[in-house]
């Protein structure tokens, strides 16, 4: 997808499609006796800001449970936001009513992770892909059918399979159905929630290439969620790394991947399998010890400090600000008191040879 990997021009504000400011989403934990009361909060997303640019892809990575999907659903307006602000083309779309949100639904679409769960097994493909037209009262009858078949053709499905049920398609084909449905209303942003995680590697490449082609043709912006770093590197212009509901590191793809500043990013990158066996042998793998802490009771200060090989006293006391570190481009932001230096080998807790 990204052909121009150079630094992004942050000054071009007319390129901004979606601006997310300090988004917070807490889920109440209910409990107690006969009368349920809130006994805690799951801090799923805690103060995340990001900018999605027209026609560009923002990769969002992080472990399971770090709040990626919650963030996506908040931006898509599927779940209400606890606090913060989401703007689309400069218009505030935070916690709009269903009716008020309706025009923005046409601009923001989603592709889901599970190609089996995201298609209603009782409806025919034509009706699934035509559903957006029906909901927004666009075209009908023969005209709608033609539009659906054009979409099917565009995403690489046989338009003659119009009357089939989802069960008659393979995983990759089903994901194409999901893509066609998301594409139907010609949105400006498609939020892809781990769109290829459930697919075979060979099929993953096909779907990723399809998404890239569609971006070229329609000028789509993507928010691309994945836990596969290589996939994100392949598709993204910008990358955001999340840990326990907060942003650890954010910036254009190249600086983040080539000189990660946050120890968590460095650990993730070192854990990704390398295609080159020599590189794999030379690599120092950082093993993170312990589990991800509970988002109900996150650690104080920097949320990563209990697992961080570089943690010091300050890390458990003060929360690091997300800011550009000395020597980095202004758009490369890191939330760390002691950022990783170029060429530094993280030489503490749980490090071992990759062999």
């Amino acid at each position: 997808m990204p052909r121009d990997t150079g630094a992004l021009e942050a000054s071009l504000s007319d390129e901004v499609l979606v601006q997310v400011d300090n988004l917070v989403k807490y889920f109440p934990v209910r409990g107690g006796g006969l009368i349920s009361r809130t006994i805690g909060q799951v801090q799923a997303v805690d103060g995340v800001s990001l900018t999605l640019r027209r026609g560009q892809t923002m990769g969002l990575v992080g472990e399971t449970g770090c709040g990626k999907s919650t963030l996506a659903r908040c931006i898509a307006g599927l779940i209400p936001i606890t606090s913060g602000k989401v703007t689309f083309e400069g218009r505030d779309i935070t916690n709009l009513s269903r009716r008020a949100m309706q025009p923005f639904r046409r601009e923001i679409q989603m592709i889901f992770q599970d190609p089996y769960g995201s298609l209603n097994p009782r409806r025919r493909v034509g009706s699934i892909i035509g559903e957006p037209f029906a909901i927004h009262h666009i075209s009908s009858g023969e005209q709608r059918k033609r539009a659906v078949q054009e979409l099917m053709e565009r995403v690489g499905l046989n338009p003659e399979h119009f009357n089939r049920f989802p069960a008659e398609f393979s995983g990759g084909q089903r994901q194409r159905i999901g893509v066609a449905r998301a594409l139907a209303l010609r949105p400006k942003l498609i939020i892809c929630d781990e769109p290829v995680s459930a697919l075979d590697v060979s099929i993953q490449a096909q779907v990723l290439n399809l998404l890239a082609d569609l971006q070229d043709d329609f000028g789509l912006a993507y928010l691309f969620i994945a836990h596969d770093l290589e996939v994100v590197r392949h598709v993204s212009h910008d990358v955001t790394v999340m840990y326990l509901g907060r942003i650890a590191e954010q910036g254009p793809k190249t600086p983040v991947y080539e000189s990660p500043r946050h120890p968590y990013t460095a650990a993730l990158l070192s854990a990704a399998p390398a295609a080159d066996p020599d590189a794999a042998q030379a690599r120092q793998r950082i093993i993170l010890t312990g589990d991800v802490p509970s988002p109900i009771n996150p650690p104080s200060g920097c949320r990563f400090h209990p697992r961080c090989p570089k943690a010091q006293g300050l890390c458990s006391e003060a929360e690091p600000e997300l800011q550009s570190k000395p020597g980095d481009p202004a758009v490369h932001l890191t939330a760390c008191h002691f950022p990783v230096q170029d060429g530094e080998i993280l030489a503490r807790a749980g490090r071992r040879q990759s062999r």
Binding site: R73, A76, L78, R98, M101, Q102, R105, R106, I108, Q109, M110, F112, Q113, D114, G117, S118, L119, N120, P121, R122, R123, E131, P132, I135, H136, E142, N158, E160, H161, F162, N163, R164, F165, A167, E168, G178, R181, L185
Partner: protein, 346 residues
């Protein structure tokens, strides 16, 4: 289906050779399994037969020259004034206590029973599915209120309420249908609510919401089709319950009123004559038993046919057959090995 769609389908058969592998829908699979269930097929035949007999009851009455409400005190009663036994004086199933043709009355009773069973089930199913879906989908206080209401209806002392209603209003077919419907929807609602609770968490519901679909559209277009399986089973099983309910009310004298014939009020009249006229009790009771049993067995059959796990039973049967055949043909493969079994089965 429109003409263009037909043409389109015809075109696709020629164009796509892979069309040859026709995917089977859930309904096709269910139908295939149901067809092989002897009990279910027999039930369908019994139900159809009973329905046809009920529909042509006036015809039978005119063939026998015994209208349903006409008593024959001279030819229809014995010298002692008791009901006639089956086959005498041209009464195939005998007569009742005033000398009416018992067969004609039972067939007219079938009209009432089947009508009440089908109409109340239709009302109860529509109400039950709607209320259950609303409770399950919206959740929150709506669910709390509706779920408690469902529990309350299920806990009602049914016959007592019916007696009270009959005392207040004169019993009529409308009242009976109303009462039975009111006590039938809750069981359907409770199951629909549970299913909706699990279905609404599916990703395709979220997909529909992200497209901008409203709650009613999601309930009726996305959730309801996925409920059809259990609902059809519940509805089939609810028909015999309604039939028995109607018979009970009529037996107690708060249902269908004489002279209109109903299995319940025929049985109520017959209870005074069970020592002298066995047929008077046995035939209407048998009609009730056979009809409700057929609906119950059909409901069980549909439930089994909908369950994908039953497929294995049928497969295992054909496996065994195939294995026997291939053993006699080839005699090489070890029939006891699981490998042989799986290859045979495919």
């Amino acid at each position: 289906m429109s003409v263009s769609e037909l043409q389109f389908q015809a075109g696709s058969v020629e164009a796509a050779p892979e069309q040859a592998i026709e995917g089977r829908s859930q309904w096709q699979l269910t139908w295939r399994r149901l067809r092989h269930d002897k009990m279910a097929v027999a039930s369908v035949i019994v139900i159809l037969l009973m329905t046809v007999l009920a529909l042509i009851a006036p015809l039978i009455a005119s063939l026998l020259h015994h209208p349903v409400d006409v008593a024959y005190p001279n030819t229809g009663l014995s010298a002692a004034g008791l009901p006639l036994s089956p086959g005498t004086h041209g009464f195939p199933l005998g007569t009742d206590y005033v000398g009416r043709d018992l067969l004609v009355r039972i067939l007219y009773g079938a009209r009432i029973s089947l009508f009440v069973g089908l109409v109340t089930t239709a009302i109860a199913t529509v109400a039950g599915v709607t209320i259950g879906m609303v409770a399950g989908y919206f959740g929150g206080w709506i669910d709390t209120v509706l779920a408690r209401f469902i529990d309350a209806v299920l806990a009602f002392p049914v016959v007592v309420i019916a007696l009270a209603l009959a005392a207040r209003f004169s019993p009529s077919l409308t009242i009976i249908i109303g009462v039975i419907s009111f006590f039938s929807w809750a069981a359907i609602s409770r199951i629909v609510r549970g299913q909706t609770l699990s279905l609404k968490e599916k990703e395709y519901i979220e997909a529909a919401r992200s497209l901008g679909a409203g709650p009613w559209r999601i309930m009726f277009l996305d959730i309801m089709p996925n409920l059809m399986g259990p609902v059809i089973v519940l509805a089939t099983l609810s028909i015999p319950q309604a039939i028995v309910f109607e018979a009970t009310l009529s037996f107690l004298g708060i249902g269908i009123q004489a002279p209109t014939a109903s299995w319940g009020n025929i049985l109520a009249e017959a209870q005074n004559f069970y020592q002298e006229a066995w047929w008077y009790v046995v035939f209407p009771a048998a009609a009730l038993l056979i009809t409700t049993l057929a609906f119950n067995l059909l409901g069980d059959g549909i439930r089994d046919a909908m369950d994908p796990r039953t497929e294995r039973i049928f497969n295992a049967r054909t496996d065994r057959k195939n294995r026997k055949n291939s053993r006699s043909r080839a005699g090489l493969a070890d029939p006891g090995s699981p490998l042989a079994a799986t290859t045979d089965g495919s």
